[in-house]
């Protein structure tokens, strides 16, 4: 323990396994054709349990986490964005999209070899960039594409007609997949995948809820490497099983008082995707004894939540745990649509106030001292209404700082200025740097 450490710390035992699962995922996609498998591509929000009914040899490439991996490799990210911009796309478009497009145009895969061509596109659209993203991919790669309109309003206003609107599209998408792949759809595989996804996303929420503990067993920088598995393939058994193991380990850390940051004396949350090439900002916080315990982004992008009887926010109870049997396609699709439409990160597309309310809830329940809002020029969708969130948080008496950047385009991030902002925010919170 160093001089400023208040709590014991130790590395996460499952860290290596998380990295291996991630690497395997990208390898599986690249090698899918070796044994006659199928590839599909879509966003991390694509309802990936649906293609699972086509067989066990169907592999996906979810584009945002893939682009985020490239963003961490700043040199390659720049090459990809240059390629997209040379093709004629504007620099102020979604940086994930530009990175993905650039890699496709260059025919280069981050994990080696040529860019693996998908057999089909399966995509949700709630973010305005999502559908345009794959419209271009489908045209360029000459592959069929299917888009699900999930913009049916906030979950609290969901009614039968709105749910039917999504469920009917899911039924259509299955028929479409059978047609474009020539494969027969297996409802048992669909049901298994739906159950896996419900387990994965509920377990991830439970893992995040453990961070209510002081000291926090996980810091957000670490959480980025863990939540990513759900963004890759949340409907897989490997993802659900990993989160079950991880929850056990995190609970054990809480029970033993193991801290992610041993000098924790201040807790903050962030917002939206971070500037992936500059995650050291989170390490800089630690020089003040501050730890980011998460964000609505890390909690709610893939975690599914519910109000608990005691009024707290916790992992949503799965239909399986409620004793609901899923025996047929329609029941599976109906429960699956309802589950996904409750996703926290989809709510603020309708009203920023909904996001402010969730953030305030996190501030209260996770014992947060301040909020760092990333004015992310790279993502219009998640930055939508962010200044209204700032206002709402400030009005509620929550200290807030903003910093400008871009999740994928380092040309729009100023490291020195951001550190200066952090310095100012820490002073505002009454903190000085800890002795090294």
């Amino acid at each position: 323990m160093n001089a400023t450490a208040k709590y014991p710390t130790e590395p996460l035992k499952l860290w290596k396994k998380a990295k291996e699962l991630r690497d395997q995922y990208y390898l599986n996609y690249a090698k899918a054709k070796d044994n006659g498998g199928l590839r599909w591509s879509g966003s991390a929000w694509a309802l990936d349990a649906i293609p699972a009914g086509l067989g066990d040899d169907v592999y996906s490439l979810t584009s945002e986490p893939y682009a985020a991996s490239i963003a961490h490799d700043r040199k390659f990210a720049k090459v990809c964005m240059d390629a997209a911009e040379s093709y004629g796309f504007a620099r102020d478009l979604c940086s994930y999209m530009r990175i993905y497009w650039g890699g496709m145009h260059l025919n280069k895969y981050l994990f080696g070899g040529p860019f693996p061509k998908p057999d089909f596109i399966f995509q949700t659209q709630i973010c305005c960039s999502h559908s345009k993203w794959y419209q271009h991919v489908a045209k360029y790669e000459k592959v069929p594409d299917f888009y699900l309109d999930v913009g049916v309003g906030p979950y609290k206003t969901l009614d039968k007609d709105r749910l039917d609107f999504v469920v009917n599209q899911l039924h259509d998408s299955i028929e479409w997949m059978e047609k474009v792949t020539g494969r027969k759809y297996d409802d048992e595989k669909l049901i298994a995948a739906v159950k896996n996804e419900m387990r994965s996303t509920s377990l991830w929420a439970d893992i995040c809820a453990q961070n209510k503990a002081v000291p926090a067993p996980l810091d957000e920088k670490t959480m980025y490497s863990l939540y990513v598995l759900a963004t890759l393939q949340k409907s897989s058994k490997w993802c659900a099983d990993f989160y079950a193991e991880l929850l056990d380990e995190v609970k054990d850390r809480v029970a033993r008082g193991i801290a992610a940051v041993p000098n924790e004396r201040c807790r903050v949350i962030s917002d939206t995707q971070p500037p992936w090439g500059f995650l050291k900002v989170f390490r800089y916080l630690e020089t003040y004894g501050a730890v980011s315990v998460g964000s609505l982004y890390t909690f709610g992008l893939e975690g599914i939540w519910e109000d608990k009887p005691d009024g707290s926010w916790g992992a949503r109870t799965t239909p399986m745990d409620q004793g609901i049997e899923i025996k047929d396609r329609d029941t599976a699709l109906r429960l699956y649509a309802d589950w996904n439409l409750s996703k926290p990160q989809w709510q603020h597309f309708y009203d920023p106030q909904l996001k402010t309310e969730m953030m305030l809830r996190i501030v209260r329940e996770w014992k947060v001292n301040g909020v760092m809002l990333h004015l992310n020029r790279g993502c219009e969708g998640l930055s939508l209404g962010i200044m209204e969130n700032r206002l709402g948080l400030s009005r509620a008496g929550v200290p807030v700082m903003t910093f400008e950047g871009n999740m994928g385009d380092e040309r729009e991030f100023d490291e020195v200025r951001t550190q200066a902002r952090v310095d100012g925010f820490m002073e505002q919170l009454g903190l000085r740097k800890l002795a090294a």
Binding site: D414, R421, D423, G424, E427, Q428
Partner: protein, 269 residues
């Protein structure tokens, strides 16, 4: 006791030395400016520039280094001041300095060369919230400077010229480079310089005001930083913020350095 404050700005270095007058019977410590205020052209070698500015300030004040109990630094180059006992951000220094001159101030607008910022201040002179312009000079002094160059006016003339205009010409560009193009277009359209100067300063004031509104405008409001010297900007900001009064210190560019010197003194008690 004598303490020092040094503000390592992006364009100039400001040094202030303060002496505790220790007025008998006064419940609080009082300070007065000891003597010297040095405005020093910034150099690329900031260590050397800080050292020289401080040496000049000491010489002007007739002091030796050992006479000064502590120096605090602020500004963009604050981490380069080797002789400083501590460094604080511009928000903390500006808030403390502005509160010293105007104890009732609750909102501080600090517009220097590189950055404009709005700071919410509590009764103790501590910042409780802040907002600043990001990677863009459009809400800062260097923007006004670039535009005055385009109009071939010095900064003083630029501000004064704007007072002769009552026209409102919107400038839409958010970027100094593109705004300069707009200014050039206005020149080509034979728009009087006074009107262009007002348009530019209205635009800077509008951006500053939008930034300050993020933290909320609570009276009293003080404006600090070099842009206080620009009379046209002061008028434009007052109008944009819709406040009856903007409190203006006599030596606006030194306020953060004064704040540092005060914080240095307080650290000794």
């Amino acid at each position: 006791m004598i303490t020092g404050g040094i503000d390592m700005g992006s364009r100039t270095i400001k040094v202030v030395l303060l002496e505790n007058l220790d007025v008998e019977g006064a419940p609080q410590l009082r300070y007065a400016v000891k003597k010297a205020h040095i405005m020093f052209p910034g150099e690329l070698d900031q260590d050397k520039a800080a050292e020289q500015a401080y040496a000049d300030a000491l010489a002007a004040a007739g002091l030796k280094r050992e006479d000064v109990a502590a120096v605090f630094a602020t500004g963009a180059g604050r981490k380069q001041v080797a002789f400083a006992a501590d460094a604080v951000t511009e928000m903390t220094a500006g808030a403390r300095g502005a509160s010293y001159f105007f104890p009732t101030v609750r909102t501080v607008v600090d517009v220097g060369a590189e950055e404009g910022r709005g700071i919410k201040v509590d009764a103790a002179g501590k910042p409780t919230d802040f907002a600043g312009n990001e990677k863009c000079a459009a809400g800062a002094g260097s923007f006004a400077e670039a535009m005055s160059r385009a109009l071939q006016l010095d900064l003083k003339e630029f501000g004064e010229a704007s007072l002769k205009s009552d026209r409102t010409i919107p400038m839409n560009a958010q970027c100094t480079v593109f705004a300069e193009s707009e200014v050039v277009s206005l020149i080509h359209a034979s728009t009087p310089k006074e009107d262009i100067a007002k348009a530019v300063l209205d635009a800077v004031a509008s951006r500053c005001c939008a930034m300050v509104r993020r933290v909320g405008i609570e009276t009293d409001v003080a404006l600090i930083g070099g842009m206080v010297h620009n009379v046209g900007f002061v008028r434009a900001l007052k109008a944009a913020m819709d406040v009856d009064e903007l409190k203006l210190p006599d030596m606006p560019e030194y306020v953060s350095a004064v704040g540092c010197a005060l914080l240095a003194a307080e650290s000794r008690h």
